[in-house]
Amino acid sequence: MSFITYLINGISLGSVYAIIALGYTMVYGIAKMLNFAHGDVIMIGCYTVFTIVSTLNLPTWLGMIVSIVLCTVLGITIEAVAYRPLRQASSSLAVLITAIGVSYLLQNVALLIFGANTKSFTSVVNISALKLGKDGALTITGETIVTISACIIIMIALTMFVNKTKAGQAMLAVSEDKGAAQLMGINVNATISLTFAIGSALAAIAGMLLCSSYPALTPYTGSMPGIKAFVAAVFGGIGSIPGAFIGGIILGIIEILSKAYISSQLSDAIVFLVLIVVLVVKPTGILGRKIQEKV
């Protein structure tokens, strides 16, 4: 029975990684850049919910909506102010370094506004735990149920959006070839902005789910899950939406199971070891495609 509990906890943790990884992978797929500030957008989203729900005592749904809107605006702004001017830069390193800079900027702004004291996040999930088996031998918390279902819904919605809508097709076209897409009349800048908007809205949702399950909120809350989610995105094949989903879930399960059956100290080492092995065997990740560089 405890194996099933571990597995469910792993899938729950993996679902959070997956939602964050979707943000990484979409931005990489379309803008060909690693947005290292993604984890910190999560943190800003959490503080927004915290401020509205716990400090101002307004309803939770309002906090969630404001948080998603604010993160979307923040994502578009970061892209327009920090990344767009550098898109034509000769070196892709410039954008990478800028992304790291934005990450530190967001952390320090949060430090300035909210201080570094840990805040206890009130869960946005209002479902009581599900007890199965005799005497509740298998307990699934409300947060776990909501996190896993949210992840599946987002995953399906995003796949439909990319494959069935005009804007989604435009994204695919931009990710294949920016120049050709522009010649076909696609507004590349608007498409990239849209990608950042969706990625950041997902970050807000991921943040709420993350902090509902693990309610300690500090300005550095987003950084470690952000890095793990990045690993998940690479694991699944960066640029691939189903890849991020699979990568996230597998990463979460490996982390929890290695903690449970191998060593609670070595779980991170094992996670990164698996990543290295996967990359050695299949450098593009599980579902990654090999893209021919054109000369």
């Binding site: 430090l111 805040k119 307990t139």
Partner: protein
């Protein structure tokens, strides 16, 4: 080329002037005692840093009102280190530039070890109110007010054993932190001599301190009645929340790192109900000294003092006692003061808030007895 030489000359001469000023500052003290303090007043352990800052401040104000130490007033300067080793060393250097004679700090073990590695070069007399790792006092110039970690681990094990708190105990500790793993090791050793069993001992690290579901599940599978948490309150608040939402009903037992859990913003304190901790200070103790301190602290800072405030308050009075014993003047150099106070520390006995008849060995470790407390109705209460 000529321009460059000129520029070089200007830079060089400026550097020499600055260097000569710096030399002036550190060689000799002035007419007042300059006590510096270092600790996290922001960050994950801010509750400790602020308490130490205020506790020392209160003691210094009292001493100054009564005419200072041997007629010399005290100046006080407290620097934030955000629980970061490097920032703690930077704070130490800033205080040295300010002209510090004696250091109260750093508040946390990791930072204290980093600062002690620097302060030994200056032979700066350093007393840490709460840095409890044995390595904090590895150098001869550093002394502790709090228990060191081995003593906390042994104390916790013998308390649980002799009071029959539980027969099956699980431990969750932070293997990346010296404080936590230090207590755990001694706890495990001492547990062998006690009538209870450690049924599961699980670790976490600084990089994986959000999800505790596995550690809690293992404790439950092993049939533990009590979970021992030799960790800091931020992670403990997460563990309590996750244990409650998964429906476990363990008893929790911690050391002084849990002190502050009731101060986490927006934390549901009912989750901490019944948590037991070993700590040397209880704000509701009935003795006159504690009551006087608690009243004065509440008036000055609007908050009930925790053990860190009491440790810092004691630290300042310990410095006073040592200076009076050594009979040294603040005009002496940092190193002379260091030598004199290090010798005096082994000769004095101080009655403080955190222990009667506290005395020190030459290594810098304190000798006193712990008290056990339980969280009741959202407050720390002494177990009689």
């Amino acid at each position: 080329m000529k321009k460059f030489t000129k520029l070089f000359a200007v830079v060089l001469s400026t550097a020499m002037v600055v260097a000569s000023f710096a030399g002036c500052g550190s060689a000799k003290g002035g007419d007042t005692w300059k006590i510096g303090g270092i600790g996290p007043t922001t960050g994950g352990a801010a509750v400790y840093g602020i308490a130490v800052q205020n506790g020392a401040d209160l003691a210094i104000k009292e001493i100054n009102e009564k005419g200072g130490i041997n007629g010399h007033k005290i100046e006080y300067n407290f620097q934030d280190d955000e629980l970061d080793n490097e920032k703690s060393v930077n704070a130490y250097n800033a205080l040295k530039d300010w002209g510090m004679n004696v250091l109260v700090g750093s508040v946390t073990s990791g930072c204290c070890i980093a600062v002690a590695a620097e302060s030994v070069n200056d032979n700066m007399f350093q007393i840490t109110p709460s840095g409890s790792a044995p390595d904090c006092i590895a150098n001869k110039n550093v002394f502790q007010v709090c228990f060191n970690d081995p003593n906390q681990g042994i104390g916790a094990a013998s308390y649980i054993g002799s009071n029959n708190v539980a027969s099956k105990v699980a431990v969750i500790y932070d293997s990346s932190d010296v404080y936590s793993s230090g207590i755990y090791q001694k706890f495990a050793q001492e547990a062998a001599n006690q009538p209870f069993d450690i049924v599961s001992a699980e670790a976490f690290t600084a990089d994986s301190k959000t999800d505790f579901s596995v550690q809690l599940q293992k404790a439950a599978d092993a049939g533990a009645e009590l979970v021992f948490l030799p960790i800091y309150y931020t992670e403990a608040s997460l563990i309590l929340t996750q244990a409650a939402s998964a429906g476990y009903s363990f008893k929790f037992f911690g050391c002084d790192g849990l002190d502050g859990i009731l101060g986490v913003e927006n934390f549901d304190t009912s989750l901490a109900e019944g948590v037991m901790l070993l700590t040397p200070f209880a704000a509701d103790a009935a003795d006159e000294k504690t009551q006087h301190f608690v009243k004065a602290y509440e008036e000055a800072y609007g908050d009930t003092p925790n053990q860190f405030a009491a440790d810092a308050y004691d630290a300042v009075y310990i410095i006073k006692a040592a200076i009076e014993k050594a009979n040294i003047e603040p005009s002496a150099s940092v190193s002379e003061i260091g030598d004199a106070l290090e010798k005096a520390m082994t000769e004095i006995t101080v009655d403080g808030l955190t222990g009667e008849a506290m005395n020190w060995d030459a290594n810098g470790a304190v000798n006193k007895a712990p008290k056990a407390m339980e969280i009741k109705d959202g407050n720390y209460a002494l177990i009689q």
